[in-house]
Each structure stands twice: as C-alpha cells, then as structure tokens.
C-alpha cells in the first residue's frame, strides 16, 4: 500500500515541475512586453523601463528567473497582479470560495439527479424509461453550456422573472463573509430575505454547470449498474428472495459506485472548464471569470498564477482519486 502511494506521489513531482515550467513559460511567450503593457497608454521612459525590468528580474538569465519563480511558488509567492497590485495568491483565495460553492452545488445537483436516473435506466433496460433517460442524457452531454445558460436566462429571468441574471446576491444585502460561502454567510447574517436571494442567484448557474456532469454520471451509473446486475451474487440475492429494491439499492448500487466515484472525481477538471463559461455569463465573481478577465486585460502574473493553481488543484484531486481507487480496489495497487 505504502509503495503504491509512494509511486503515485513520485509521478506527481515531475508533473508539478512541468506545470510550473509551462505557466512560467507563458509569460515569456505572450506577445508584447509585459512592462510596456503594464505602463499602459502613458508609456514610460527608457530609464524607468530598465528600472522596472530590474525590479521584476526580467534582465536576468531565464534559468535564474525560473529558479526564483519556482522557489517563490513553493513559498506561496505567485507575484502581483499588474492591475490591482495585490498578490495573486490572495486574489485567488479571495475568489475561490465563490467557485467552490458553485461547483459543490453543481456536483450535488448532478449526483442527486444522475445517480437515480442511471439506476432507473439500468433497471428498466431497453424499456421506455431507459430510452427516454439516456436520450436526455446524451442531449445534456452534447449541450453547448453557454447557449444553455442563455436559454435558461431567456425563460426564467426574462419571461418568468423568477431568477436574477447575474451576481451572487442582491445589492441591498450587505454582511460580512467569514466563510466566503454566500449560502452560509447569508444564513448566519440573520438578514431577512438574504438567504432566499442567494439561493435564487445560485439556481441557474448550478443547473448550467451541473448539466454535463449530470449526463456523464447518469450514463456511467447505468453502464456500471448493468455490469453489476449481470453478476452471480445478484442472481444469488434474487434466489434468496430479496426484494428488488434491496437488490438494486444495496447489492448492486454499492458495487456500481466505484467507477461512478472515479468519474465524479475526474470531472473536477470539467467543472473548472465549465466554470469559465458559466461564471462569465452569470457574472459570478469566481476563479473562472477572474481568469477570463485577466486574459483580456493581459494581466500576466494573474494568468500565470491562476493557471498554475488550477492545474495543481486538478492534479491533487486526480491523485486523491487514484489513491482512493487503490484503497478500494487492491487489484489496481499491484499493477
């Protein structure tokens, strides 16, 4: 077990180095000199240019620059935003709860609907329910989510006026945010209507972000269930006279869950990619929107740091899934 864990961890190190190298390389390859971009319209004198390039270390050899960047990263120093002059690390973790809250809600939505849908489809294999659910899942899987978001806005915000179009909460509410999760903070603030407002802001982005994971989970659950339902121990359970509910719900689902959990873990990357579109459309103040805005503003340190942090997060989640998989399934460990 320890050996397996160590080997997984060892592959993490070169990947981390490579990810750092790539995000470091981006700032050198991007068109336009970062210092000139930073100076903006005003321009700057040659003297000031040299001063700044010395300050940022652009005049030193690339290897030295990378070494400094890398040691900085290990200490949590990702540089400062050109625009706000605040450390990238602080900005990232100030916005991260918004993305996390949205992602968790989307995942809960996807699992809560996807698991039962997959089980129902598998149990009714080939019948009407199966076909209807799986066709819907395929549509969801093929959905351009930016368009899906616009459609939902037309119907629920435009025609029905049920949900707001953007942001996390109505502007009339103001309260401190100790956790950064709007749902929790609005509840503990004790202000009337704040929680309801937060929920209404959250509904559409959650649906939009959760749609593709929902479809993937439903499809995966169905196929995993079908495989398990063909096993001998299910026949045994049936022969024992257990109720279908018990067989499907306890014997089959529990064993079908392993591949499903893997899919859930691996869709973190998908969620973050989806968050870019979802947050941009709903003006959700999270990491995705921050990255897109920074790309447009050519705020290189932010793009660089955000890219690195997101990649590292995806890597950590993947590693965790890998290790958990090894814990659950000893066959994998031996490979």
């Amino acid at each position: 077990m320890l050996k397996y864990f160590a080997s997984r961890l060892l592959t993490f190190v070169p990947t981390f180095l490579g990810v750092t190298l790539i995000s470091f390389a981006f700032i050198r390859v991007l068109p336009g000199d970062p210092i000139i971009v930073m100076a903006g319209e005003r321009g700057l004198s040659e003297e000031r240019y040299r001063e700044l390039s010395e300050q940022f270390g652009f005049d030193r050899p690339l290897v030295v620059q990378f070494w400094e960047y890398f040691t900085g990263v290990l200490q949590g120093d990702l540089g400062q935003s050109f625009v706000t002059k605040k450390p990238v690390w602080d900005e990232f973790f100030a916005l991260f709860p918004a993305t996390l809250e949205l992602s968790i809600c989307a995942m809960v939505f996807a699992v809560a609907l996807g698991l039962p849908a997959g089980v129902i489809a598998a149990v009714n294999r080939g019948k009407f329910f199966d076909r209807a659910l799986m066709s819907t899942a395929l549509v969801g899987y093929s959905m351009p989510i930016f368009w899906w978001a616009l459609l939902l806005i037309i119907v629920f915000s435009g025609n029905l006026q049920w949900t707001p179009v953007s942001g996390r909460i109505d502007l009339i509410y103001y309260f401190p945010d100790p956790t950064g999760f709007m749902l929790i903070d609005s509840l503990t603030s004790g202000q009337k209507g704040a929680f309801a407002s937060a929920v209404r802001h959250l509904v559409l982005p959650t649906i939009v972000l959760g749609t593709i994971p929902l479809a993937v989970i439903a499809r995966q659950t169905r196929s995993a269930m079908l495989e398990v339902l063909g096993e001998d121990y299910i026949r045994t359970a049936r022969a024992k006279g257990l109720s279908p509910g018990r067989i499907n719900g306890i014997h089959a689902l529990r064993n079908a869950l392993i591949p499903v959990i893997t899919v859930i873990g691996l869709s973190v990357g998908t969620l973050l990619a989806g968050a870019i579109l979802t947050e941009t459309i709903f003006s959700w103040p999270g990491i995705g929107k921050w990255m897109v805005d920074s790309i447009f503003r050519r705020d290189y340190p932010v793009v660089q740091g955000g890219l690195l942090l997101i990649a590292v997060m995806v890597m950590i989640v993947n590693l965790t899934v890998d290790v958990l998989y090894g814990v659950i399934n000893p066959k994998i460990r031996k490979r």
């Binding site: 990810v19 351009p144 495989e227 793009v303």
Partner: protein, 301 residues
C-alpha cells in the same frame, strides 16, 4: 451480448466482409443511423453553403433589422429564420456557419489524431525512459482544464479561428497518445507481433503495418467523439471572443454577438445554439454507434 462480441472479434476474413459486418452492427443502432443522416446533411450544408444560402451571409439589409422568423407576427418569408441586429439573414449565416464548424472538426481531428497516433506509437515502441518522458508531458497537458489551456494558448497566439484550432488540437492530442500507447502495449504482447518480429520485420514495419491497423478501432471512436468536442470548444472560444472574429458567421461568435439581444429577440440566440447542439448530438450518436460496432469490448459503457 456475448454472442455479438464474439462475432465482431477481429477474425473477419477479408476487407469487404469486414466493412459489411461493420455496417450490419452499425445499422442496428437506430440512433446512430439517425445521427449519420443529420451529419450527412450538416456536411452537405458545409460543402455547398454558397449554393444553398439565399443571401450572402454578410450582406446587411438595413431596413430589415431584427425581423422575427417567418411564422411569427411581423415575420417575412424573405427571411425564413429572421434577421440579426444588423439585418443579416439568419438562415444564410447558419448555413455558412456549418462550413466553419465542419472545417474546425476536420482540421482539429486530423492534426490531433495524426500527431497523437505518431507520438503514441513511438511511446509504445521506444525504450522505457522515452516512454516515461512522453507520458509525463501528456500528464502535464492533461492537468490543465482543456478549455482554459486553449483559452490561454489563443491569448498567446492571438484570437482567430486558425489559432483556436491549433490550441484545441494541442489540447485534444494527449487523449490520442494515451489511447494509441495503451493499444500498442497490449497488441505488442500478442503472438502475431512476435511472429512478425521473428520473420524479420523491421521496427517501422512492425509499428505501422503490423500493429497500427489493429489499434485503430478505439482511435476511430475517439476521432468521432473529439470531432464534437472540437466543434463545442471552438464555439465556446468564439463565444468568449477568442475564436473566430465577427463578422465571421461562426456559430459561437454569432451567439456572442447576439447576447445583448437575448431578451428582445429570442431567435438570434436560439438558432445558432440549436445548430451547435444538433450537430454535436448527431456526431455523439454516431460515435456511440461506431463504438458498439467497432469495439465490442467497450460495449458496456
């Protein structure tokens, strides 16, 4: 289930028989055939767009801005699907847009698949240390969410459809590398490869003639599925303003242009997205059918 698996196992005697067998299994999946028809219509639109579209897609009819579809009040049969805020005919733009999406799909899949297959083959046959380096590089690319990486790459290269295609191809390529490598490693163990080696086949012959054809089934399925991913990602980049630039009638770009009108003119938003959805759905249906017909091993998923 097991019967069909045995029948499609790669024991088929000769080419025409294999093709007919493939069609036999593909036809069984009604969704896949349906998808194939829609895809054919899509390809037809893409190929003959200038002949099919009633107007030039960039021509602006200034007195006919934001006309609703013909069947709605205020509609005009001269513009069956209405016009956009600049008075351009929606139908013509949608048909022309099929060209861009089709082109994106073809180019991205060709580039990503040929590159990925080559690197995967090398990785499968090369000494262990080269293999390790290649796979680590692929791990690094896969650590970034694909759309984010594509977005940053396009920011570096400059926003245009060509650069979006390059970025998407780079992002999709590791999947082909992993897939090819995995099949190569399992095929390499088999007796026919050993036999070929004993007879004296060179390394290149082993790679491209002996092993590669037997690895193609999952790669073809992946190609179909990444065709749809490419279309979706290109549209997403266009939507974010990092893909095709206006006035190009690319579907994602059209959506981005239409955003401010969503509450006033539903048709400028609905149709381009519907076009993306239907195309991607058709390709995914086809991909599912292809997988069932070509690769019985994967049938369960």
């Amino acid at each position: 289930m097991t019967d069909t698996a045995a029948a499609t196992a790669p024991k088929a005697p000769e080419r025409p028989g294999r093709l007919r067998e493939f069609w036999f299994y593909f036809r069984e999946n009604r969704g896949a055939v349906f998808g194939l028809w829609i895809f054919a219509a899509f390809a037809f639109c893409a190929l003959f767009a200038p002949l099919l579209s009633p107007y030039d897609p960039t021509e602006q009819f200034r007195q006919f801005t934001l006309i609703p579809p013909a069947w709605q009040e205020g509609g005009n049969w001269a513009f069956p699907l209405g016009t956009d805020p600049l008075g351009r005919d929606m139908l013509s733009r949608l048909i022309e847009g099929a060209r861009y999406s089709f082109f994106v799909g073809i180019v991205v899949v060709t580039v990503a698949a040929s590159g990925g297959i080559l690197v995967g083959l090398i990785s499968g046959f090369a000494p262990k240390w080269i293999d390790t380096i290649i796979m680590r590089i692929m791990d690094i690319i896969l650590a970034f969410p694909s759309l984010l990486l594509a977005l940053v790459l396009v920011a570096i290269l400059g926003p245009s459809l060509t650069n979006a295609m390059i970025a998407i191809a780079i992002v999709l390529q590791p999947h082909y590398v992993r897939l090819t490598r995995a099949s190569v490693l399992s095929e390499k163990q088999k007796d026919y490869v050993t036999a070929a080696r004993v007879v004296g086949a060179g390394r290149l012959r082993l790679m491209f003639i002996t092993v590669l054809p037997n690895c193609l089934a999952p790669i073809i399925v992946q190609a179909a599925l990444s065709f749809s991913t490419a279309i979706l990602d290109a549209a997403a980049l266009g939507f974010l303003g990092m893909g095709a630039q206006p006035p190009t009638p690319e579907w994602g770009t059209m959506l981005a242009e239409a955003r401010e009108f969503i509450l006033r003119a539903w048709w400028v938003v609905t149709f381009p997205g519907l076009a993306i959805l239907v195309t991607v759905l058709a390709i995914n249906l086809m991909g599912d059918g292809l997988r069932d017909a070509l690769d019985p091993k994967l049938k369960r998923s």
